[in-house]
């Protein structure tokens, strides 16, 4: 059974999340409380067993202490992660077309694409192509944002 360096931290975070669910149990109807209570108990048991397993492996020196993400890439990945989050959160306000073009250009530059034509043309073509497909074939109106009234 494999154990990893961050398993205890993951278990603690999960235990805290479960605690939030426990605090919400009181506000549910008693009849609808039984099933989630059982699931929460089972989850805690699994957390305890995972921690015991980690401890046994730690005693044996069987913990994979190496980070599975290369250290010099963590910040790089984190920044990209935050950029996606910003893209998601601003989608409604700025709108699909302008934001996706900006995101596409940024993403290609950030991921070290070297071809200028690709960096400029690809996001524009993809954005409009997707907009065309979703609006005309899938009948989904993507967020207009700043272009409300124009589109």
């Amino acid at each position: 059974m494999k154990s990893r360096k961050w398993d205890p931290l993951i278990c603690v975070v999960l235990a805290l999340i479960l605690l939030v669910f426990v605090s919400q149990l009181k506000s549910t109807k008693p009849i609808a409380r039984i099933y989630p209570t059982v699931i929460i108990i089972c989850s805690y048991v699994m957390i305890a067993l995972t921690l015991v397993q980690w401890f046994i492996n730690w005693k044996k020196g069987n913990i994979d202490m190496e980070s599975s993400i290369p250290k010099n890439r963590i910040v790089y990945i984190l920044v990209y992660c935050l950029v996606i989050l910003a893209y998601v959160l601003l989608l409604d306000t700025i709108g699909y077309i302008p934001l996706t073009i900006i995101f596409g250009i940024f993403s290609l530059i950030y991921l070290k694409s070297k071809n200028i034509v690709v960096i400029v043309v690809l996001p524009i073509v993809t954005t409009f192509l997707m907009y065309f497909i979703f609006s005309n074939f899938l009948f989904v109106t993507l967020p207009p944002g700043l272009l409300k009234g124009i589109l």
Partner: protein, 496 residues
């Protein structure tokens, strides 16, 4: 028989044929790109299926699924890097053949074996799923409890070397499935005052996130744009003797693939390795394995593609997905208002038989599409990761939004993607998340219905024969890791 004929009529409309080709092409591209998978392809294409008729939508996803499993073998041969884990045995043999200048032969073999395995599994699906659906007629709430527990237990147990982590993920995901209105009194539960959560967590966006974004983040782990050296496809050809000498190998591997496909969560990678090992054991030319064995390629490819049809058998009949793509498939069925089980084969017979017949046709078309694609594979395999990552993020975002036209869904997709990446990096399996979210609701509803059926003692449900059968399966699935460990020890002792 009349249902099968209806299926034929529905499949052979120009639009459906076009959709099957489009799905296959998209699936092959997803499978062929190293790091991408059939699961990711199906996840990304669910939103595109939303506006289509249910049967057309299922044909599109079937095309992506089958194409994705097959596509993984193309980089395995041309680059020596398996596009999907299921193509790892093919990579061992295919790369050796490529070095000898026989890449065209290797690709042709792999295309033919994949198509053969796929067609056979599609036929098994066509004839076995309705039979299993008859059993599903006798399935009541008590049996449904055991089916759900069985599905979840197998997924967790098969989390190779991480049984505890698999179970932990399963239970926490079951808890997430309880968010929303409870099935008994319809009172909101764990919604934290957020109206968006009243209908529960959004299944498909979460599946899109958990199966696509982690791949994007994984791509960022390597520095710079790595341009891979792709071997030339060469002349594609098949020899009759490749098949006359390997007929038993092909049949055995296909049957193994179908069997593995039926077992929940035992996906194409397990089937490919198992069939490859069996082929090696049975071969009279064991020394060729690892240095370009045709038997190895045929076994691995027939088996991994045979999983596709096999995995849909328990899905359509009982609602248990046999693999991760099948789990997303189930999510898509829910979106289209289709519920697996016996009723699917009666009230939605036209849709389900279109899918079953379409699955056979897709696997036949795969041979031609695969043959055609291999000639141009060199150009697809060199698409830089910067373009792939950007496209996937945009597709996942827009796709998640399209389902309910909700930014909250996109946010759920994003959170699921980040959590999925952390899980994968720490050896927590992600498949139980899909299964638990899909089966959680059914499990809770069945438990409450069973409690009403047996108000004095719920354990009376074990007096029902089918409950006992499914209970035995649950016990077996829990015991399997220990049995397999014991078997491995015994066989290694015997070899020593």
């Amino acid at each position: 028989m009349s249902n099968i004929l209806i299926g034929f009529v529905n499949v052979f409309t120009p639009f459906n044929i076009l959709i099957m080709f489009a799905g296959l092409l998209a699936g092959i591209i997803f499978g062929a790109l190293p790091g991408f998978s059939a699961t990711m392809g199906v996840a990304v294409f669910v939103p595109f299926s939303y506006a289509l008729d249910p049967e057309t939508a299922l044909l599109l996803l079937s095309g992506v699924y089958c194409g994705g499993v097959y596509g993984g073998s193309i980089p395995a041969i041309l680059l020596g890097i398996p596009g999907t884990p299921a193509s790892a045995p093919t990579a061992m043999e295919g790369r050796a053949l490529t070095r000898r200048g026989e890449s065209g032969h290797a690709l042709a073999l792999c295309t033919a074996a994949s198509s053969f395995g796929g067609v056979m599994s599609a036929l098994a699906l066509l004839f076995l799923a309705p039979v299993l659906a008859i059993i599903a007629l006798r399935v009541g709430p008590p049996e449904q409890i055991m089916i759900a527990v069985f599905g979840l237990s197998v997924v967790s147990m098969l989390s190779e070397g991480n049984m505890l982590k698999g179970l932990l993920v399963g239970f926490v995901s079951l808890l997430l499935a309880t968010i929303g209105q409870d099935p008994q009194v319809g009172f909101p539960r764990f919604t934290f005052g957020n109206l968006n959560l009243y209908a529960g967590v959004s299944l498909v966006p979460i599946l899109i996130g958990i199966f696509s974004l982690p791949e994007v983040f994984s791509m960022l782990e390597e520095e710079g744009e790595a341009f891979l050296e792709v071997a030339s496809t060469g002349k594609m050809y098949l020899k009759l003797e490749d098949f006359t000498k390997n007929q038993f190998n092909l049949i055995r591997s296909t049957l193994l693939g179908i069997g593995i496909g039926i077992v929940p969560a035992a996906g194409p990678d397990i089937a490919a390795f198992l069939a490859y090992n069996e082929a090696k054991k049975a071969s009279t030319h064991k020394e060729e394995f690892g240095s370009g064995s045709i038997e190895g390629i045929l076994a691995s490819e027939a088996a991994n593609n045979a999983v596709t049809g096999g995995s849909l058998i328990p899905l359509l009949a009982l609602g248990i997905p046999g693999s991760a793509p099948a789990a997303i498939f189930l999510g898509a069925m829910y979106i289209h208002g289709l519920r697996p089980g016996s009723q699917l084969f009666t009230s939605n017979a036209d849709i389900v038989y279109t899918l079953l017949v379409g699955f056979v046709v897709i696997n036949i078309l795969m041979f031609f599409m695969g043959w055609f694609f291999c000639k141009f594979a060199k150009f697809v395999l060199v698409i830089p990761k910067s373009i792939l990552a950007t496209m996937i993020v945009i597709l996942a975002t827009v796709g998640s939004f399209a389902i309910n036209k909700s930014i909250f869904d996109v946010l759920q997709m994003y959170i699921a993607g980040v959590i999925g990446y952390i899980m994968i990096k720490n050896d927590y399996p992600v498949s139980p998340v899909a299964l638990a979210l899909l089966l959680g609701g059914m499990l809770e509803t069945s438990i409450s219905q069973t409690a009403v059926m047996y108000p004095n003692n719920i354990f009376e449900m074990f007096s029902r024969p089918y409950t006992i059968v499914f209970s035995i399966l649950v016990i077996l699935s829990f015991a399997w890791p220990f049995i397999s460990k014991k078997m491995k020890k015994t066989s290694s002792k015997a070899e020593a």
